[in-house]
Amino acid sequence: MGSFWARTPPATARVAPPLLQVDNLTKTFPGVVANQDVNLTLNEGEIHCLLGENGAGKSTLVNMVFGLQQPDAGEIYIRGQRVNFRNSGDAISAGIGMVHQHFQLIPVFSVAENIILGNEITRGTFLDINTARRQISKLAERYGLTVDPDARVGDLSVGEQQRVELVKALFRDADILILDEPTAVLTPGEVDDFFAVVKSLTSQGKSIIFITHKLREVLAVAHRITVLRAGQVVGSTTVKGATQQSLANLMVGRDVVFRVEKTQANPGALALQTQGLRAHDDRGVETVTGLDVEVRAGEIFGIAGVEGNGQRELVETICGMRSASSGTVHALGQNITGWSPRKINRLGVAHIPENRSKHGVVEQYSIANNLVLNRYNHKKFSTRGVRNTAAIQAEAASLVEQFDVRTTGVQAAISTLSGGNQQKVVVARELTGHLQLLVVAQPTRGLDVGSIEFIHRKIIELRDRGVAVLLVSAELDEIISLSDRIGVLYRGRLAATINAADATREELGLLMATGSSSSTDRNQP
């Protein structure tokens, strides 16, 4: 540990009590100590970053502060007053707001309805949706968070839903905002806007507990940093003197490689080809507008683009989850246009979906059942339609081990896993078995630096074995470091295809924003 790491000083030394003080919190779940004697203080106007590996106990800690879970031992003080939250309602009344790692929105309700849920503005006995709508627009404008109050939440992209969550927390007028990985789902541009919001909030005296795995962000906004490992605080510091490497090492307990080494790609036969592909999103808007893309065996083709330029629909159309309105998809020597997801999967196409909780897992299922979600009917796992539970569990145990999923057992419900560990389950499922084409969307969303390194290695390993990889990611660093070629998706088409070796963040950023690399074209549609 570096010399500047020290335990949080006892808060009693201060004159005025800190805004929030967490004292020796302990929380155990069957078989795991999620938090052990955790201490944390938050001062007014401060951004306090919580760092730690997947499963280190960050969400558990803030859930206790927000009243969603009750500590086994320890105390929480707000402005020196001991508090005992029985539920999140208590925490909200005490001026705490939270944006959760997993969305808490109701898809069939509109944005405005979601935001006022539990905070209804009434006129007489009627819900005054108009007042709410006006307030939302005002808030949205003030913090630069554009949301359409009348849109149905289920129709929104992940990034847009995240904005709704933020507005919702702000709407309730919180002094302390807890943000559990709010930037995991945002694009780089959105992240910048988001930090502008965060900074203006703190300048107005609000205080923020901020959880993220992105060390670049930590160094950019944090005032103080607390690092958790296996439920315990292993260090607490200010940003001064900290580097990405020093933070990563402290989190993981070993050296972490940020940019995975890879050899020159050795592209083979054409593995994926779309021609004139067109597809519509859920609202009926054409978002893939005549797209041609080619990926060869043994190469990683990265798709960069601002969210909403057709990434989601492209991936879903290739994997059979969405039908193309025109154009064709050829994969592994077959015309797979119009095939069912199962048939495409059987051909050797694996798919890591963008939206884990919607498509990737069944929250109520065990880890084992999630690990065989799309191959429960393989010979190995069932005989004449009857499940072979022993084989399923054996497979699950081996994958959990291989992908270092932190859990007490494969029979535990997947919802008991930390967010990052849930993602590892999806990745483990998709990267195993017979595959020749891998379609991945946001493969490392929500993962800690160590796990990202691991999954990047896995993907490169697959490429070297001759698997074709189509990688969609909002992380420019991930696109640049993993890809062999990069296509920039702009308004449903590839605006440019460049060699990853020549790509810079700046050039990609410009292409993503304007669809063209010459700045003179910038203002043209």
Binding site: M321, S340, P341, R342, K343, N345, H351, P353, K358, H359, G360, V361, V362, E363, Q364, Y365, S366, N369, L373, N374, Y376, N377, S382, G385, V386, R387, T389, G409, Q411, A412, A413
Partner: protein
């Protein structure tokens, strides 16, 4: 206030006994709902001026006072098993099939029609009985499958379409059975509207000559519960159904044909109601009358919820339900209590099971998982 908390403390202790001694986890809420309903029912009875113990004692003897009454109670319960299975099965796929009422009628008509066909008289029982049961099952399957198809093709919600189909088949059945001009299915020799009696070969063998007759249909439907438990908990089809029910998006992603699962779940669901109707006609009445199945489908909903949609628990819940109805007349006779008291108690049971927060609060029961694939309790095929 103080007495209130001592009551919940006492019931909390009862709860611990049930947890640690009898291990009936998934069914606490139901057991407590029954207990609570009988207590409230008892209060009602005493308000009328009757000793609730006398009334309940009569009810109990009416339900199972001697072998004959017990057999009669069981006989009364048989069709409820089928109509409850109809709800439970669809429920796993996330569908709310409240059309068992109509599916019973559809199955009843087809069974009675096939059972009365002239060529049936030439078939040996070993063929005639399966024929009539199959006919009823098929009728129920089709009537259950239609809302499934409507749901997947047009998005029509199954709650709405099953309610409408209930009415359609009810009026169609009344007309077919009632009309003399033209004669459709009416037995013209009978003064009451009903179908022609089924052939003797198609009558299910009886187990006990009780009132009503306890017939082999009991075994068929009890067996069906175990089959359903196996299918839901141990097979790929069961896994597909549960996946669709819990997260249709993930099911689609995983390559499951969501629409096909929905249609089959509805069709299978109707099949159970159809089988129940056929076994009633073949084993008990010998002909079809629309009134026979009145409210049986809706009682099935209550029974399925009481059994927490667990197929094997449905057997117990249906037997309780059916025997309460069978035992009520003795209570009326001996304690001079209207049969409706039983209906009130049943309504309370349904209320407490549906609004289980009340029961959970009173008995301090934590929420528990329902689905067999959810956690480690796989195979807990209660």
């Amino acid at each position: 206030m103080a007495s209130g908390s001592s009551i919940t403390r006492a019931s909390g202790q009862l709860h611990r006994a049930l947890t640690e001694i009898w291990r009936l986890q998934p069914l606490y809420v139901s057991l407590y709902a029954i207990l609570l309903s009988f207590i409230i029912g008892g209060v009602l009875i005493s308000l009328i001026g009757v000793n609730p113990l006398t009334a309940y004692w009569a009810l109990l003897r009416g339900m199972a006072g001697d072998a004959d009454r017990l057999a009669g109670s069981l006989a009364r319960s048989v069709p409820f098993i089928g109509s409850a299975l109809a709800l439970a099965f669809a429920f796993r796929a996330g569908l709310f099939n409240i059309g068992a009422e109509g599916q019973l009628l559809a199955g009843g008509i087809t069974a009675a029609y096939v059972g009365a066909l002239s060529w049936m008289t030439n078939l040996p029982g070993i063929l005639a009985i399966p024929a009539i049961l199959l006919a009823g099952t098929l009728g129920g399957t089709i009537w259950g499958g239609i809302p499934g198809v409507l749901r997947t093709k047009t998005g029509a919600h199954e709650v709405i379409s099953t309610i409408m189909l209930n009415s359609v088949v009810l009026f169609a059945a009344r007309w077919m059975v009632g009309s003399r001009n033209p004669v459709v299915l009416r037995d013209t020799d009978s003064t009451v509207p009903r179908t022609k009696p089924i052939s003797d070969n198609a009558v299910l063998p009886e187990l006990v000559d009780s009132q009503p007759t306890l017939h082999v249909g009991l075994l068929a439907l009890v067996g069906m519960c175990f089959v359903v438990a196996f299918v839901l908990n141990r097979t790929n089809f069961g896994f597909e159904i549960a996946t669709v029910g819990l997260n249709p998006h993930a099911a689609h992603y995983a390559g499951i044909n969501v629409n096909r699962v929905l249609v089959w779940a509805m069709a299978a669901s109707g099949a159970f109601a159809g089988l129940a109707a056929a076994s009633e006609i073949s084993g008990t009445s010998g002909h079809f009358q629309p009134g026979t199945f009145f409210l049986m489908g809706f009682d099935g909903i209550a029974i399925a919820l009481l059994a927490r949609t667990k197929p094997v628990a449905i057997i117990a819940a249906a037997v309780l339900w059916g025997s309460m109805l069978a035992g009520a007349p003795l209570m009326q006779q001996e304690a001079n209590m209207s049969i409706d008291v039983v209906r009130i108690i049943q309504a309370l049971v349904l209320l407490f099971v549906a609004a289980d927060a009340i029961v959970r609060y009173l008995f301090r029961v934590k929420d528990i998982e329902q689905n067999p694939f959810q956690t480690s309790t796989v195979g807990g095929a209660i």
